[in-house]
């Protein structure tokens, strides 16, 4: 580690008047390696923190404090090294670090999240820890937004801060307090107090700024025809759906036209003080609790049929059935128990057969097109069941998926529209009395008598229990047929499995680590997962019914219903502890990578939103400073760079930053490919030099010679007299950075492998060409399709292709680098050949065939 004297050197260079001697290239590289080391430390801590979010570890506050401290120290050291290398060009990085680390510390110092409460949030802005600000109804809906198949109508919420603003603007605090005091003293009746307060609220005026905010948000969610749309305006009070059930005590309004949205706001607020709500408070002795309400606005889902789904029967929870009730039109009558409804008992196991149904005459409904009043159901429909078996299955699948996600018995409000789209309007805990829960046998006894198929083979990536039939997934086709509620079993923890994860009840893989990408996704969707369970795919076979116990690290034969119900009804989920919520909030500020394109306009220090961004930024800028500006090949060779000699028609200068090259006899100014000891470079080179990569079919002779000249490095004339651009590879034992200004293209590859998959990444960028934009874009499409199939996340913009890949095992990274090497050679003159869109598929197939051929010959790894 560098000492203080060297730390202060950047500042001496900044403030000292004497011009300092240029620092030797090797010294700069030593600093660069320090940066790699520090960044690795940060990435390791990041990986460690992510795995802790899976619930298999017990950690405490001190652990979080220590992690943040270490991260802060490391990025700061990294920033010092960067400024040393660049002669203090990036001093603003220190400010950014200070701000980011301070944010993390604030997050640590409070139990509730560190944010300034806004008056209004769109549903996708609601974050963990905002329950109190937006109410549980809104909070739970916001958590479902990213779940596939659970459609949540888009919306926004006016938070508790908006409510307080309203009271303050209209000077209502004192008046309400005085009236509530009279209620507590018993000097006034509930009826009087309720009426007086409601009149005060309804008589107030919405502050102009809040009025403005509500209407523009409604326009935002309503789209171009917002003013003709209908909305729901619903209460989302603190405590409602939470520990206290104020359910149904506050008002909600459906089918509200745009012009009445503001009046609706006041009406919902006033219902906080309704007679029944005040009576409930007195009865439960909650009068001391602060009263506040948020109001949720959503676009109306045009319900053809609506109802309620109970994931379990609250009176008979041990039965393997869910309970579904449904009526025509919007759900208000069903929810409030005021209308006639059909009811169904539905098996929890797929394919969710109906075991019992009661179809009644349904003569009244609230139509989705009307003014929210009760109408007569057309005579022909009154006696019909309002759901068919397919619709019942659809509702049960989504309802049980939500139950797996929330990990509690659920009461779900839903609506099916005319197009058959299923909308989720609310999900909350279904209360089941303790007396109804069977307790005759201890859990230990139950678990003890199961037939164990696998025991303590792998690592737990996310704790919990899941049951269902096994689907073995090996190909993308297997993914497409993956059933909701199935147990996903796979040899590799492929990142592309992510698509099926939200549907899965549990996951088991032969190979994989808790820090890998798939494990991260499993945690995000809260799916119990055991990874690295060697031999699992041999024991667990297609369609076999199993229970995955990712708490005791076992897989049992069959469905262990008692265990599943125990988890669901009795066991608190580990994520409710405040340290877990803190960890999740911290991770959101640490791990996402937003700074992607090093040549993008936003790639500067102030664009760093997370620690991961910072690490990436510092690395990139340090690297650029070392390799790009003003370094002529001659200077580079003086500093120890070598010319590569090979059969591949590519001029390449190689710089070894440590462990990338083996000595080959005496010291020369050139090296051979056989001397590569860098893992990523070896893999890349195998691809680049593999058969067929460089023998594209003949283009016209003139063109060929042109292309040939272009493959060579551009000359000073081409680059406009600037220092010549060179094809440069900077390699280390586990590191590769390539910049290839080949012809008119510019290709960059940055890749590293580290102690855990979290450290492993490949970044690939490709831009340019000699042909018109259409042909170049065709090539971009081709590249992206090849890369996407190889698990890359790809962005295409015109002829620019940016691809990223992280969290893979070392050998998987090697395979992808092979592919990149081959692709660079293959694609170099493709823009010329891609004369029509149809050619894209032709050449994509050609490339795939070549890859298959080399794979078959075993030369990939």
């Amino acid at each position: 580690m560098a000492d203080l004297a060297t730390f202060s050197q950047p500042f001496k260079r900044l403030f000292g008047k004497k011009k300092l001697k240029p620092i030797a290239f090797t010294d700069l590289f030593a600093r660069f390696q320090n940066i790699l080391h520090e960044n690795n430390t940060v990435m390791k801590i990041m990986a460690d923190m992510s795995t802790k979010a899976g619930g298999d570890f017990v950690f405490d506050k001190k652990y979080l404090v220590d992690c943040i401290l270490e991260i802060g120290k490391s990025v700061q050291r990294s920033a010092y090294h960067l400024n040393f290398i660049t002669a203090n060009r990036y001093l603003e990085v220190f400010e950014v670090i200070e701000k980011l680390v301070k944010d993390l510390e604030v997050e640590l110092s409070t139990k509730t999240p560190a944010y300034q409460m806004q008056r209004l949030y769109y549903l996708d802005q609601v974050e963990e820890g905002m329950e109190e600000a937006v109410g549980y109804k809104t909070f739970n809906l916001a958590r479902m937004i990213n779940l596939p198949d659970a459609n949540v109508p888009c919306g926004f919420v006016v938070s508790v801060a908006g409510f307080r603003d309203y009271l303050a603007y209209n000077n209502l605090f004192e008046g309400i307090d005085a009236l509530m005091k009279r209620l507590e003293d018993g000097t006034d009746s509930v009826e009087n107090v309720s009426r007086s307060i409601r009149l005060m609220i309804l008589g107030g005026e919405i502050p102009p700024y809040l009025r403005q905010e509500i209407l523009s948000a409604a326009k935002q969610i309503g789209g171009p025809k917002a003013e003709e749309m209908l909305y729901s305006v619903r209460s989302s009070a603190v405590g409602e759906d939470g520990d206290w059930s104020f359910a149904g005590l506050y008002d909600s309004f459906l089918n509200v036209p745009f012009g009445e949205l503001l009046a609706g706001y006041k009406k919902v607020m006033a219902s906080l003080y309704s007679q029944s709500s005040l009576e409930y408070r007195i009865r439960k002795n909650l009068s001391h609790m602060e009263m506040a309400i948020s109001v949720l606005y959503q676009k109306m889902a045009a319900g053809r049929v609506s109802g309620v789904f109970y994931s379990l029967d609250p009176n008979w929870p041990e039965r393997p059935e869910s309970v579904l009730s449904a009526g025509w039109g919007l759900g208000k009558l069903v929810v409030e128990g005021e209308g006639p409804v059909d009811s169904f008992r539905v098996q929890r196991d797929p394919p969710h057969f109906v075991t019992e149904q009661r179809i009644v005459r349904k003569d009244r409904m609230i139509a989705s097109t009307g003014q929210g009043v009760i109408e007569e159901v057309p005579a022909a429909m009154q006696e019909d069941p309002c759901l068919n078996p397919d619709e019942i299955r659809q509702i049960a699948e989504v309802g049980l998926m939500l139950e797996r996600f929330f990990k509690i018995p659920l009461d779900v409000e839903w609506s099916l529209d005319r197009e058959g789209k299923l909308w989720i309007l609310q999900a909350r805990r279904l209360h089941i009395e303790a007396a109804k829960q069977s307790t005759h046998e201890s859990l230990q006894e139950i678990v003890g008598r199961q037939r164990v198929l696998l025991a303590e083979r792998g690592m737990i990536a996310y704790r919990g229990v899941g049951t269902g039939p096994i689907t073995l997934v090996e190909t993308h086709e297997d993914l497409n047929r993956f059933p909701s509620g199935g147990v996903l079993v796979s040899h590799y923890a492929h990142p592309w499995l992510a698509k099926a994860i939200p549907k899965a009840s549990a996951i088991v893989t032969d190979i994989g680590t808790v820090a890998g990408h798939m494990a991260t996704v499993a945690r995000e969707f809260r799916v119990p997962a055991i990874v690295g369970a060697e031999g699992a795919t041999q024991v667990l076979t297609e369609n076999m019914e199993v229970t995955v116990d990712a708490e005791r690290n076992r897989v049992y034969e069959g469905c262990v219903d008692e265990l599943v119900k125990h988890q669901l009804i009795k066991k608190p989920t580990f994520e409710i502890t405040s340290e877990f919520q803190q960890l999740r909030r911290l991770l959101k500020k640490i791990t996402p990578l937003y700074l992607v394109d090093p040549d993008g306009a936003d790639f500067d220090a102030r664009g760093c939103k997370t620690i991961h961004d910072l690490v990436r930024f510092i690395h990139q800028k340090a690297f650029q400073a070392l390799t790009r500006p003003g370094e002529s090949p001659r200077q580079l060779f003086k500093q120890g760079a070598k010319q590569l000699k090979s059969n591949v028609p590519l001029d390449l200068v190689v710089i070894d930053i440590g462990g990338g090259l083996a000595k080959d006899g005496e010291e020369n100014s050139y090296v051979f490919p056989r001397q590569f000891t860098s893992f990523p470079m070896q893999a890349f080179w195998r691809g680049l030099s593999s058969p067929q990569t460089w023998d594209t079919e003949p283009v016209s002779v003139d063109f060929k010679s042109l292309m040939a000249s272009l493959i060579r490095t551009q000359t000073a004339e081409v680059t406009g007299g600037r220092a010549p651009m060179i094809n440069l590879a900077v390699i280390g034992a586990n590191y590769l950075n390539l910049s290839l200004p080949l012809g008119y293209h510019y290709t960059a590859v940055d890749a590293a492998v580290g102690p855990s998959p979290r450290n492993n990444y490949i970044f690939f960028r490709f831009v340019g060409g000699v042909t018109d934009m259409t042909r170049r874009s065709r090539r971009a499409v081709l590249l992206s399709s090849v890369l996407e199939q190889a698990d890359f996340k790809v962005e295409v913009n015109g002829d620019l292709v940016i691809a990223r890949l992280t969290d893979l095992e070392k050998d998987q990274i090697g395979e992808r680098l092979f592919l990149i090497g081959k692709l660079i050679g293959f694609a170099r003159q493709l823009d010329v050949l891609l004369k029509a869109d149809a050619d894209i598929d032709f050449y994509a197939k050609k490339f795939a065939d070549q890859m298959t051929a080399v794979k078959a010959s075993g030369s990939v790894s």
Binding site: K52, D56, F59, D60, K61, Y63, Q444, E551, N553, F574
Partner: protein, 129 residues
């Protein structure tokens, strides 16, 4: 039915007890949790626990102090020490003072399960003698 093995957990960070209690109860143990040593000591005067799990660094009587008192009061019980300040020195000291096992934080739930299982065996053996 056989009496349940009893466990007392003392850690000033509530998350430790909150996480361990449901897990150990699932395994059939009887668990009480405390977040300050004063109230834990008061309870320990009243009744015996078969196994104690204690943090080291705490306000008032610290983990080592608690360990000594418990061993004096209930010599056939066993104590497992957990700490976020896991150094060789602290480990050595706790073991010398009679701790059965020493587990640095953060730890896997499985680590505690295994330690508790082994401690239980030893306690049952000692209680028979």
């Amino acid at each position: 039915m056989q009496n349940k093995t009893s466990i007392c957990i003392l850690d000033d960070e509530p998350i430790v007890g909150d996480r361990l209690k449901p897990e150990l109860e699932d395994d059939g143990y009887e668990v009480e949790i405390f977040i300050d040593s004063a109230s834990a000591l008061e309870r320990v005067q009243q009744r015996c626990f078969d196994i104690f799990i204690t943090d080291l660094k705490m306000e008032g009587v610290d983990g080592i102090g608690f360990l000594e008192r418990v061993k004096k009061l209930w010599p056939t019980s066993e104590v497992i020490v957990i700490t976020g300040y896991g150094t060789l020195e602290t480990a050595r000291e706790s073991l010398i003072k009679g701790a059965y096992d020493f587990i640095p934080k953060p730890f896997r739930i499985e680590d505690i399960r295994t330690a508790v299982k082994k401690a239980k065996k030893k306690v049952k053996h000692q209680q028979k003698d």
